[in-house]
Amino acid sequence: MIEIQGLTKRFGKTVAVDQLSFQVTPGRVTGFLGPNGSGKSTTMRCMLALDRPDAGAALFDGRPYQTIKRPLFEVGALLDAGYVHPGRTARNHLRTIASSNGIGLKRINEVLELVGLTEVAKRRVGGFSLGMRQRLGLASVLLGDPHTVILDEPANGLDPEGIRWMRDVLVHLASQGKTVLVSSHLLSEMALMADDLVLIGRGRLVETSSVETFVAKHARQWVRVQSPNVDSLRQPLIEFGAAITVVDDTTVEIMGVGAATIGELAARHGVVLHELAPQQGSLEDAFLEVTANSQEYRTHSPFAPPQVS
């Protein structure tokens, strides 16, 4: 169990993390989301006592990280796969970490096998791709078989197979009852992997809930209707307060009225339906909706016409 209590971190006049509080429960993958510059990485560094918070605390099973004697056995963390000496071999990189907590070569070989890097264990890390470094980083996380795992953007640089593998590993760890906190910009991945979400913006907690609840609450919902005489449905639907978006001659998207009501209306007016499909926006849609006011650097559509003043 991870408990963040009123965590605050300032860099000069900038408040990177502002009175942040949330919990991460065991046995579930918790996604840590937020726009760029929202304070996710700073929060993770504060949790591991790498950055000194100005206020608040991060507790692992009720204890601050700095009081844990051999942290690798309790908390495994991957903050940046680039934290490696390029001249060291993969095995030696792990040896430098493992030996500080009394972990032997046998376990190092096991985790190298687990992440699929046994064959390149004697190669210098400088020649590794980002994906291979991510695997090496995950190997260092698993060294002490910790019950809490913290990963910052672990899918960065991984190919589709690697992303799927990473997802499976994290879901497996959670299924073993471990506490898993993972930040990622790949929202489609997060939707597949995370059970719970902690969403922050400008260093503050925006929302924390299950992924299901979050999407249901914030993502757009509509019904896709396809019919050879879809125009006959238009007037009855408008009378029901529906908002209609025409897709093509036979297809419309309807908001504000449920699929059951549309089906009944169609039957009442003798309209043949070829498709009646409830649709829901993605986690990405919900995320963008919720963080619209928390974006540090906002972008505009490249397809928008130039504004004439």
Binding site: R45, L48, R52, P71, Y83, P86, R95, I97, S99, S100
Partner: protein, 249 residues
């Protein structure tokens, strides 16, 4: 012990440690062997000359080993691996002390080994050429002083690295301190007519530990002349550790 083992693995698993250590070992050995083999009149060559040749040529070795210890900390900051180290051992002071101890033992051990090999090689070559070598307490003090000087330069480099956190800047300062800064300071003190200016210059004072009476005007100050540099090193290391405990990693 686990931390010391970890730091030892870190030190010996990067190439720059080997390159600099080999240069630090080969350079004085080469000088001693060549001079002992090629010196014209061995009758004029004393035990004190041999020791002076070893200690003076090994000042460069001590500086190079200082660079090794500087890089042992600045490389960690440069590559971000210090965050992994501090995450694996949240007690930063323990990590930094272990790293310093490993660098210190490594530096003094290499210095001792190279010094003994150079001494044995030089003595053997000169004895085979019928030179009569005798050694006294001054020569012994100079050899012990060399080991201490090596240790202090190692810790000086480590301390500078702790504070500056940047390889190029730390190494430059480590090298310029003895070669340029103290010479400039000595010039200024001389112009100001300060008596015994060397007393106020930690590195130049420590250099008297490795001087024998026959060398450079015969100024042998004994091991106590290393105290000013030792104090400077202790202060720099102390400041470095305090800064690193307080700063974000």
């Amino acid at each position: 012990m686990d931390l010391l083992r970890s730091e030892w693995i870190k030190l010996r698993t990067i190439r720059v440690t080997y390159v600099l250590t080999i240069i630090a070992a080969v350079f004085p050995l080469l000088i001693v062997v060549l001079v002992a083999a090629l010196v014209g009149n061995v009758d004029d060559f004393s035990g004190s000359d041999l020791v002076t040749m070893i200690t003076q040529s090994m000042v460069l070795s001590a500086l190079l080993l200082g660079v090794v210890s500087t890089l042992s900390i600045t490389n960690e900051y440069g590559n971000g691996t210090i965050r992994i180290s501090f995450a694996a051992t949240p007690n930063r002071r323990k990590v930094l002390i272990a790293k310093g101890v490993v660098a210190l033992v490594f530096s003094m051990a290499i210095t001792t080994i190279v010094m003994l090999v150079a001494f044995a090689a030089g003595s053997t070559i000169l004895s085979n050429r019928d030179a009569s070598l005798s050694f006294d307490s001054h020569t012994n003090t100079a050899l012990v002083g060399l080991i201490l000087l090596s240790g202090m330069l190692c810790l000086l480099g480590y301390g500078l690295g702790l504070i500056i956190r940047n390889s190029a800047a730390s190494v430059t300062l480590l090298v310029l301190w003895p070669l340029l800064l103290e010479n400039l300071a000595r010039f200024v003190l001389a112009v100001a007519k300060v008596k015994n200016p060397t007393t106020w210059l930690p590195y130049q004072s420590a250099m008297r530990m490795i001087s024998t009476p026959d060398f450079d005007g015969g100024e042998s100050g004994g091991l106590t002349t290393g105290i000013p540099l030792a104090i400077v090193v202790i202060v720099i290391i102390g400041v470095g550790i305090v800064i690193n405990e307080r700063r974000d990693a």
